[in-house]
Subunit: 381 residues, 4 copies
């Protein structure tokens, strides 16, 4: 663990005479808004439809209340987690966020470097602007998020490349077999993939390249269209997971589950873990808050199953609430994307360090020494 | 079905570099406000009293949450419905909205043309600015909404004309046996009927015209007053439905039901279907939200009965929530009236196409292939 | 009944081309704010402490939802009530509001004339700016509200004068044995009684006058202090009601009850009726909303007892909700005080006519022919 | 009791022609904001993280509703309390607030003088800017709040000094074994202790001074760092209370309990009383509202145990609600700190007098003669 403890970070800020970076998630967001062109900012910050689910995600965290325990003896804390063999010094990972080239020129490489520097693993997006091999070269490989493109040869190729590059799990996103209906992006027709952004896995993939008449370097528009055409894949069913399981020996984590019955189906079909998520409110507007779904999912699958969550985590207390409600770990997305926008790799590291520090301080004060202490009794009924 | 699928519409917008029309219902409303004179806008946008029920309608949709299902295989979707023999490619109809001449010179004709172009049926208002025969001439006739005027001969004449013109059902509005108490309209004394607007059914009706001393063309004020005088009809009771049933062989749908016991009474008195509605909050201020009433009504009448709903539907997710809570289909009113204000027929088509597309995308992502998939388990308890 | 029916009022407004007066209670309030000097306005509009109970009163009405009944046959409606022998054409009375001389020079006389003109009874305040005899001379006497001053001779004298002047009941206010803690008034030291306002009952009372060294006309300050000194009377207990009952043969209504057990105590101690009220949020800040208390009180005392309510009634729907939740009638205070500020007697009449008309329209549309139809099933559980 | 009764205070304000001081807590806060430099104001006014718990504290008080009792006979009221031998004329104490030198040059001395003048006891903070002996010299000593520094010799010395100076109890704060994560302070690096503020107990302590190479007067920076270094003490557990109990014969009150099980543990480990508190939302952001925790704690420990509460008390009604929900007394912090900022000792006295007066008026009107009358039935379920 290379992250400083919360008390140390806090003391350092006071000694330095103030925080070098924005502090609250709202501040980071405002600073990112100022740093980005509007289309890019809205692509990251926006959600589906009326953004009711985006609001619901935050509201669910606000509604849940912690019940701190006193005098537990929290001088020594170890908030590290190990999920399917992946270790993190803190109970959060960096969620897959696509097309970071619109946020910062260093894109995923900056994030990967921040991940390596802090030890907090990155789940690399299928829609990254950097090839999975280049990201893996930065440091200890992590997990690979897969959009299962309708072209199975390409999907298989990506999975094999990820395995070969040392990624430790395939995180299959279930909730985005096509893009959600996003007002902000539709209004201005903002879809950076059309300009070839976020297609690095395609453009570095031998199977995809073999199917092109002209290489992307010569005709990026056609190549982009051809890549995008494989994106929608609504025909997928649970039974298809069997085929995917055959392509790799990596554990399969499915992301985007919002119902207990779906969680059970996932496990029955060979998933090694589940990420409860509504994709940050970017897919089905009106969907249930992820934190509420987490409660249902954990209840359905029992204590043994691996369950993570994302969508709405902004502060240390949010992480703790999610753990208490049954998550083995959480993923954070927009917060580090804002950090990237504001300060590149250093910004991402600052976001990670702050979140870790605030979580650590919160745990120290709430009687939590390890994630095992964050049980159901730590939140109000 | 002449409507493009959601993914196609979405792709087309991105390819075109942005949406040609407003997207969110709030945007449409703002654009309509700019396009209309204040009295006309407030007539459409306003509600009864303190507009508490208008707010409640929207709040009920916001409160309900979808529980999307993953990996159902939604590549093929058919969201069409058939209600009492009327088919629609989508599970929504165009609600009866009166006096559209204040919104756009093409009024109901523009709406009927948009309905014909998209295949989404129109329920023509009794208070239309265009005769029911002229509207029927535009395309496949749909349903006819009836205000049961106190003059039975006129009411009977309208019903017979509708039947003759090929309308497929009579939608009897129960909740407007007189106008609600509407602050916005009362404040400025806005009642376009006094100037002869919205009285096309009267002015084209042989029975009504026979009772006039001077034809409307020569003295519109007197004719208007005479028509309006037949409007209040508070004496009606359930038993009167028998008389109406005798005037026509068309199925009778009653609109404006907000209680389970009333729904049962309607069925007992020969209604073929029910529209749960509070008239968009325009009649009884303080009345229960229509979506909440839908739950009660469906519970009371069971699965077999035909139950539609309106009041508060603004987005694709709203349609889906209403279906999941028991509606066979919904009606949308204000949204297309704003489309008409903003762009005439093309604006109405845009509203329809957007709503259909967003609904289709939402269904694709929520595991809904047909309306039958939208069962009670699709919403949170 | 001299009030026009709702439909007539509505039609007249449309024919006239708009409302002559403000319509919504918020509009009346704003107009009154403009008409009055700030101290007087705040005295009327303000409440105790943080005004949480004022907000709660309104919020409770907003929260309750009506369940309109269709096709009941509401062409004929009679919303008149008779409460302890007092008849009103509508199920609301004019609540006792003190010191109206700060609102309009015609003060209670204007209100009494409006009451006489409309037939809606006035409950005259003990703290009126006009002697009870002068008010009684305006028209059919109504009820007399009593602050039970610590000087029993004065209290007895007032009760006897009210009886002699033809008032039909004594409405004893329980919740104001001293003034509440009112920020707005305390801030500027606004207490008009100190200048002799609102003390007409004292200054016309032989017992009080006999106790003065100098008549009010020569030394109003001293007389005012002497009157005010009798106001606080916190020592009163239920047992004291026996003495008051002996002073008069008039029925005794107690006002300011917020608990079921207190309602029962009132009846046991000889009260003929109860007014559930928190004095419009002017006495105990943080007290339960009056509408919520009404439910508890009605449940406790059963159907037979006479139960009225005030505090928060602003619109027709509010009256109907209170009836449905168990009130035999309601009282309205601030609304008519604002009418008085805006237009004197005519303003009060306008407020009464509007409220009656909106209520009548609401009843017509909600299936309510008489107050008996407004049963518990008319509101959502 | 040197505090005037509520009616007297109220009358005096009216006679004086208005309040000399701000009235509502929001007004005091705004005036304090104007009087203080931003860092100092935010240190007092701010909370941890997103300040969700700060909002929750206030919201819980707003949500609870009083059920006033009528005609109880409240002419004589005695709201005094005795808690562990400490008497107060009112059921509230002055909470420990540290480093008041940043608020006013007279700091804790002004507060202590106001406490002496009003008879309302002060719980002196460990982080005061004035030595406990100097504060004790002002008047009747009260309670001493202890941060249990990691250096046991210093902690023991402070406890012994407090006992010697006549303090009546040790109030051990459990929830601040390190500072919470406070955005406002971190942003500008505001930590006045670094400049030697709020360290008067250290700088007057023989044990601490003996451990210094250079006295604070010569090198305040080093002395401050050395003092601060003893502050974090997260290793403490319930068993450590035994040691503390051995250092003193004073009763031990533990402050910062938010759970029933912790309250029971505290009693089992020798605590004589409990303060339910979340430190005004300054420590664990997202923690349960203190008023909600009070209900749980009182339920768990039964009627016999001594339970106080703080966090969110702003008005008279709040005090009464807390009493009704089980508190033996409450503590107020920020309100008097704002009073100090606005007017020094006189400001503190004004805040105390106002809160006492408003509470007294509220009790008089709600049927509460002594704190024993404030039982569970006084608030809505």
């Amino acid at each position: 663990m290379t992250l400083d403890s919360g008390p140390l970070v806090q003391t350092a800020i006071y000694i330095a005479g103030g925080a070098e970076w924005p502090l609250a998630s709202e501040e980071w967001e405002e600073r990112a808004r100022a740093a980005l062109e509007p289309g890019a900012f809205d692509y990251v910050a926006g959600g589906a439809g009326a953004e009711a689910t985006m609001r619901a995600n935050l509201e669910a965290f606000e509604r849940m209340r912690l019940r701190p325990r006193m005098l537990v003896g929290t001088a020594e804390r170890d908030l590290s987690v190990e999920v399917l063999g992946l270790r993190s010094p803190v109970p959060f990972l960096l969620a897959p966020v696509g097309v970071l080239s619109i946020v910062h020129p260093d894109a995923e490489l900056a994030v990967a470097r921040a991940a390596a520097a802090t030890g907090v693993p990155l789940v690399l997006s299928s829609a990254a602007s950097t090839s999975l091999e280049d990201v893996a070269a930065v440091g200890p490989p992590r997990w690979y998020q897969l959009y299962w493109y309708s072209n199975r040869e390409i999907a298989a190729s990506l999975v094999k490349r990820a395995e070969q590059a040392g990624y430790g799990a395939i995180v299959l996103t279930l909730d985005t077999l096509m893009l959600g209906w996003r007002d902000r992006d539709l209004r201005r027709g903002y879809l950076p993939f059309l300009q070839g952004e976020g297609l690095a896995q395609f453009f570095s993939d031998p199977v995809f390249l073999a199917g092109l008449d002209t290489p992307p370097g010569e005709d990026v528009a056609t190549a982009s269209i051809q890549a995008l055409a494989t994106f929608p894949n609504l025909g997928l069913t649970w039974d298809d997971l069997a085929w995917l399981r055959e392509q790799t020996s990596l554990p399969l984590v499915v992301k985007g589950v919002l119902r207990g019955d779906d969680a059970r189906l996932a496990l029955e079909h060979g998933a090694a873990g589940i990420v409860v998520s509504n994709h940050g409110g970017r897919q089905v507007d009106g969907a249930v808050a992820a934190l509420d779904a987490l409660v249902e999912v954990r209840e359905e699958v029992g204590d043994g199953a691996v369950v993570l969550m994302d969508s709405g985590v902004r502060r240390g207390a949010d992480v703790l609430k999610a753990l208490a409600l049954g998550a083995d770990a959480v993923l954070v997305g927009r917060p580090y994307a804002y950090g990237l926008a504001v300060g590149g790799q250093a910004g991402v590291e600052a976001v990670i360090a702050q979140l870790a520090a605030e979580l650590d301080v919160t745990c120290a004060l709430a009687g939590v020494r390890t994630v095992a202490d964050a049980d159901r009794s730590l939140v109000s009924p």
